[in-house]
Symmetry: C2
Subunit: 309 residues, 2 copies
Amino acid sequence: MIQKLTDKIKQTHAPICVGLDPMLSYIPEHLLKEAYAEYGETLEGAAEAVWQYNKAIIDAVYDLIPAVKPQIAMYEQFGLCGLATFKRTVDYCHQKDLLVIGDVKRGDIGSTSAAYAAGHLGRVTVGTKEYTAFDEDFATVNPYLGTDGIKPFIDVCKQEKKGIFVLVKTSNPSSGEFQDRVTDGRPLYEWVGEKVAEWGESHMGDTYSYVGAVVGATYPEMGRVLRRIMPKSFILVPGYGAQGGKGKDLVHFFNEDGLGAIVNSSRGIIAAYKQEAYVRFGEQNFADAARAAVEDMIADIDGAICSVK
Amino acid sequence: MIQKLTDKIKQTHAPICVGLDPMLSYIPEHLLKEAYAEYGETLEGAAEAVWQYNKAIIDAVYDLIPAVKPQIAMYEQFGLCGLATFKRTVDYCHQKDLLVIGDVKRGDIGSTSAAYAAGHLGRVTVGTKEYTAFDEDFATVNPYLGTDGIKPFIDVCKQEKKGIFVLVKTSNPSSGEFQDRVTDGRPLYEWVGEKVAEWGESHMGDTYSYVGAVVGATYPEMGRVLRRIMPKSFILVPGYGAQGGKGKDLVHFFNEDGLGAIVNSSRGIIAAYKQEAYVRFGEQNFADAARAAVEDMIADIDGAICSVK
């Protein structure tokens, strides 16, 4: 999968992924109306609206990008109906040959982490049969519990040729409260980065490892340092656009081969029609606005990378 | 809910919760057979076996204990069917007047954390209607992202009078990799503990705060220190029994009022019938074995607390 990711990035010139984080407040009125007309103002109705919204956006952008990153919390809040839409979205993206990064930020220990890994990346055994549950290609994982929490994911990843992105330095304002604390002369996130590099050594693709990292676009200087600490890890970079990051701030997240990072934008793409720059499309054409926003994001980031190559 | 928890602990003399973490390998053969006969060796079949297993255990122990702690990973691995059983288990426990601690270890930022909080502890708005999704009473939360990740949970908790347990020092062997790193003269877990105390100040019950902590039974000396750092936080203590903790090791997790901690056992209770001490019950009577194991755990822990009071 990591090879497929690099191949698709080279082919599309788009080291980006679209965050499918559908808040109901992003969804155009006409989609909500249709869904509520069919299912009522129910959890089913909300889940149907989210599905129609996702499908239109995926149809509009799938040929431009290598991957999507659905944020499971946005589905989980609607309970089983919401999670059915999460699964439907993952499956539909696979039909469109998109790689799916499940933004699940799971993290536990031993058999519990193994269960999360089986459910999101692997297979579960029932009697003599095997099944996949959510079947993403990559998952985000929280490192707070140490190697015991990560190892079960890596074991499943090796079997399935899938990958993880470990939270190293997150994009939010308070990420420094614990992550920036200096210990043995270096901030904690650097020690987590060292571990990511170490964990990755045991599960390498041709060029990059299957153990990636999450580093926020909002901290470009830290990105530069972490790039050196984890030269063979892909960095998933949230915080572009709506959270403040720009293409030129992101060049140091990439290696000299122009690879090694994938930048996410969620609201900036899926709710583009609400922004001044794309308001001309109108609410009805929200998916066209999303496509235009993806094209602009590719130009911004690919342009920035090319300018330093 | 925190008042209900303390009231129920006083009433039962059982500062314990039963971890409903049903691995298929724990479930007696006759339950698996019945479920597979009805649904086949499918995800539905697995979910049905888990449900029948949970129900029998809950029926056998509900009058002895204040709370249960279902581990969502064990359900999530079976996809939507598994999560339907998770929801059914939560609802059934509520019918039996048990408090439910959702061991979900979620943690994200801003609107994403708010979505998790709404889905697990609060309500979600669809048009003019409001719904609950999973509706636990407490949830476990990961602190790696700092206040941005915790605050949205606390906001929902205030509205719903529910609570969280923040991971501070986990019970697993590698928990020290990051949690024990010394920064500004103290290990990271103490700084997280300080934050838990601070977050809790904004959401107090009569005696205890709604912001609790997770501290592993396997680290009793650290528990003693953390008890002092967070005097008004309930400590959820995993790692009793199967992971090695004993009643006498746990006294320092409690305050002088004999409250302030709730000790979890999962495998040690739900798979008691597989242990030498309870093998006399036989596989068919796994639920009776669970009840006997709960009684022994109460005696061990209540005895240890009383001996130091």
